[in-house]
Symmetry: C2
Subunit: 236 residues, 2 copies
Amino acid sequence: MQFSKSLAFLVATLATSLTVARSANPPGNWGVLLFPNFAALDVFGPIEALNLLSETVPLNLSLIAKTLDPVPTQPHVPGEVSNFTQSVVPTHTLANAPSDIEVLLIPGPGPRAPDLRDEIAFIRDTYPRLKYLIAVCTGAWLAADSGVLDGHNATTNKAAWAERPVNNTVNWIAHARWVVDGNIWTSSGISAGIDAALAFVGEIYGEGLATDVANAMEYERNTDPTRDPFADLYGL
Amino acid sequence: MQFSKSLAFLVATLATSLTVARSANPPGNWGVLLFPNFAALDVFGPIEALNLLSETVPLNLSLIAKTLDPVPTQPHVPGEVSNFTQSVVPTHTLANAPSDIEVLLIPGPGPRAPDLRDEIAFIRDTYPRLKYLIAVCTGAWLAADSGVLDGHNATTNKAAWAERPVNNTVNWIAHARWVVDGNIWTSSGISAGIDAALAFVGEIYGEGLATDVANAMEYERNTDPTRDPFADLYGL
């Protein structure tokens, strides 16, 4: 097989779009917060877009967790109905995360996540140094609990809308695929993170690149942040 | 935060659909083939659907690679434009993979994948024992090279369509989001794996469950396997 031709195609496609990048100094240093029972697609939907973008735009990724132990999507619990999990290897701990991270992506915890107070403190302490914060799905719950969403517009998972933290001054917006408020991007549930990430790529790195990445992913984008059929589905 | 309520919601939602499962004995033992430079979303799009399904349907997952070393989406190459990779921990090697795997998912290799002849041999040797084979994106190139697609209809990545292996008797179908032929499912590029996986869940475990999983993912499905805007986009 000739994989090198495939690479050449992708690079050539993406390179044509570099001239339309909107930001003179787009962020290169990304971090993803990981914890047991993170939703896999909350991470790998957005990150696939960045994986492709990284073919031509210089990007670095840190995967940050409490320890360097592999982080499972489902902590194995004996007696559970299934044993169906995937584990991702962190590159840094909360304590030694790089100080120059510019974009932090927070995926959503599932129902079996442990106490995440250390991760919430990390978000609170790291946010002032960030250029951008992106929280996908119930990841916005963690951002809200850290205080960084106070006084901001935000959205989150729609299936579990009623359970979002409300002991704060977040202006939760139900009908939104994603919400941008200042340098904070929040998305609706799970797959909404892909649309938010592609919108972020378009806004920050250039719309031509976002289109090229979406086409390389063969993904039909929702480009309208206010179009949210799942808010309707869940009666919000 | 009350994650337990979220769990209760999901389980209650999915449980209502169990009664419409189509197959009396649906497969429970899944395997995913991993190799360096696998496309992250080729795995984690379909597998997110299965992660959610596994809340109520008993499922087991084996992650199979040449060795037990963590498998990177991008092998790090000094001097590359980016250092942007994620590594997943295998549970089994090609040599000691469980003999009772019923569904094997093959993601697509990217342009920096190493020689995959051992993985191709694994596909050829394992296929006769499987109930189903699912190949996403350029994963169908590996399936084709193994010989198991000979005489079958199949599809694959559209951006790299011209590079698909043609030294075989595969009937490649360009205009298809995914193709089912007997027990072999192949999908178009990257995100098409999500639509194929949800169609598979609907066909094998029940359409009600597929709808519930897609809604929990807040994912707008393409339910028509013949609707493929990317075949048009890439001039096929």
